[in-house]
């Protein structure tokens, strides 16, 4: 991974994986709805922020800028596969983020915890499998398909749009 764009995406993946592992631990440690407290509230807000950033800004950058470069070079297979996965992850991530924000404010009820747990578990699995594919395919593809000028341009767009 010797491109700026690859390094930025990798850093975002690391942050997302960390958040997902923390979510996985939360789900595994609580069979019933956990009691509301400040620490849990902060964790849930942070989770919601990272998830929204991943599926809105990060996915948006890939679909609107990066994938176009790939398609121009005929690498349509990986673009189709990853875009397709974005479609299944995005609503799930937003659902978990919304539930997390609501729970950070008002705590979980039994019903909202069950919903959060089911959606969260599915999200962890789908998103990690997706990141696995991006880490193993997309980052290598950037290294071999994107020239240094385009890499600079894409990295600047990423910093401006995603942060």
């Amino acid at each position: 991974m010797n491109t700026q764009t690859g390094a930025l995406l990798h850093q975002a993946h690391m942050t997302t994986i960390e958040a997902l592992q923390s979510l996985d631990e939360l789900l595994g440690a609580n069979k019933k709805a956990p009691a509301k407290d400040d620490l849990l509230g902060r964790k849930l807000k942070q989770l919601a922020r990272i998830l929204k950033s991943e599926v809105e800004s990060h996915f948006g950058f890939e679909e609107n800028h990066l994938f176009k470069v790939f398609v121009e070079q005929g690498e349509t297979g990986i673009v189709t596969m990853l875009t397709h996965e974005h479609r299944s992850i995005l609503p799930l991530a937003l659902q978990v983020a919304d539930l997390a924000v609501a729970a950070a404010e008002a705590g979980f009820t039994d019903a909202s915890w069950t919903e959060f747990k089911d959606a969260g578990a599915e999200l962890v699995e789908r998103e990690i499998f997706h990141i696995q594919k991006e880490e193993m395919g997309l980052l290598a593809a950037i290294a071999s398909l994107v020239d240094p000028e385009m890499d600079e341009e894409l990295a600047n767009i990423y910093r401006a749009e995603v942060g």
Binding site: I17, I78, G137, L138, A141
Partner: protein, 431 residues
């Protein structure tokens, strides 16, 4: 070497699912059959140092039927994706299976019942199938210059395949003609080339791609792959050559070089694991640990007969640790992971959500398989060393129970995949 190349273009290069799965299903079937044969012919297991019968038939059901069959199924799917070059026409892959799978069955039947015609016909079909495989892999590798870690091991595997096939045919002919001055030495060289050469090099080469991908670890540096290939290549020449010409110290040196290659390989794998993003390792990794632990143990065990220890039980223990300990554990671990992985990749073909790996992979059968396989390894090793019948029988029963559990796992993965696809078809038709 960059493992990332594995996924790049993966969607474009996925074979129809029935192609790799026919190899996987056959491998699982022969795995089951091998344990049945071992149990039925258990009286010939203790003290086995060669010769026709149930034990040799079962051994070849594992080596040809399970290990090589899985290697073929995995390679035809993984190699074109990893190298980003096509492997060859689908008809050639289908022909390879049509020749090879019945060849394995016929050959094993011939060995079990001492039917020379079945041995000759089965071995010929197997060699033709393997030659087709070697040709396809070789043609693919000739166009690759950017994956030295993988390709050097794959070339060593192809070279070993040629050697093991020639020695294998010579051994089969010797069963009826009896022209070899030392059948056992040729059989041992054949085992070195088959176990450490063909299967070992394929396993090591693909590890450099698959393990970092599954754990989200850092890529293994090309230098590591080059070093393991150099040490392994030299070790194979000395190991097989030493056994063939009857110079034990030469084969012992080969085993030591193999140990050095193993240390470099395992250090490379552990370095990748240390940097992994996924902290919790998946269930299949338990079997990888078993395999990795037994690879160096098998090489240490190889030193004993090489340095003059009696073949009974030390050569038998070495072959058991090599085939059932290192290779069968590694191959079933990879099968356990790769079958639902490929199914998940195919499951979004109609546009629906991809099937979740956890929904495709039942956990109980692989837990049972792990427990039974590990128990079988311990019990049978103890039985071989001590010459005890009851630990052997218990070990064989455990092995068979594990193979049944693994068969249930395979059937269930395929059933769940089909059920997901049927639901996807229904949803697609409804618009």
């Amino acid at each position: 070497m960059f493992p990332g190349s594995f996924m790049m273009g993966a969607k474009d290069r996925l074979l129809p699912p029935s192609i790799p799965y026919r190899f996987f299903v056959a491998a699982v079937f022969f795995h089951l059959l091998a344990w049945v044969l071992l149990l039925v012919g258990n009286e010939g297991v203790l003290g086995f140092v060669g010769g026709q019968g149930m034990t040799l038939a079962a051994l070849h059901l594992i080596t040809l039927g399970t290990l090589a069959m899985t290697a073929m199924g995995a390679a035809i799917q993984l190699l074109p994706v990893a190298t980003r070059r096509p492997l060859g026409p689908v008809w050639a892959i289908k022909l390879m299976f049509i020749l090879y799978a019945p060849g394995v069955a016929l050959f094993a039947a011939g060995l079990a019942h001492s039917f020379a015609w079945a041995q000759h016909a089965g071995a010929t079909l197997c060699v033709v199938g393997l030659a087709l495989f070697g040709g396809l892999v070789g043609a693919n590798l000739r166009r690759v210059d950017d994956l030295p870690g993988v390709t050097r091991h794959a070339w060593l595997a192809v070279a070993s395949l040629i050697g093991l096939a020639i020695l294998g045919l010579v051994l089969v002919i010797d069963f009826t003609k009896g022209f070899l001055p030392d059948h056992t030495s040729v059989a041992a060289a054949h085992a070195v080339l088959a176990g450490y050469g063909f299967m070992g090099m394929l396993s090591a080469g693909f590890s450099f791609v698959l393990i970092p991908m599954f754990v989200l670890g850092s890529a293994v540096p090309d230098a590591v792959g080059k070093r393991t290939a150099q040490l392994s290549g030299l070790g194979l020449v000395l190991g097989a050559g030493g056994v063939l010409v009857g110079i034990g110290t030469l084969s012992a040196l080969g085993a030591l070089l193999g140990l050095a290659a193993t240390i470099v390989y395992l250090r490379g794998m552990l370095a990748s694991l240390k940097t992994r993003m996924k902290k919790r390792l998946e269930p299949f990794f338990r079997m990888v640990w078993v395999a990795w632990a037994l690879l160096p143990v098998s090489l240490v065990a190889a030193l004993l007969p090489a340095l003059g220890a009696p073949l009974d039980p030390w050569a038998e223990l070495w072959v058991f640790l090599l085939v059932f300990g290192w290779l069968l554990s590694f191959v079933t671990a990879i099968l356990q992971r790769i079958m639902p992985f490929l199914a998940s990749m195919h499951s979004s073909a109609l546009g629906g959500k991809p099937a979740l790996l956890s929904h495709l992979s039942p956990k109980l059968p692989v837990d049972i398989h792990l427990g039974c396989h590990t128990a079988a390894l311990v019990l049978i090793s103890v039985a071989l060393v001590g010459g005890w019948v009851w630990p052997l029988r218990l070990g064989l029963i455990a092995g068979l129970a594990g193979a049944i559990a693994f068969g249930v796992y395979t059937v269930e993965v395929l059933r769940r995949y089909r059920s997901h696809m049927a639901a996807a078809v229904a949803a697609h038709q409804q618009g």
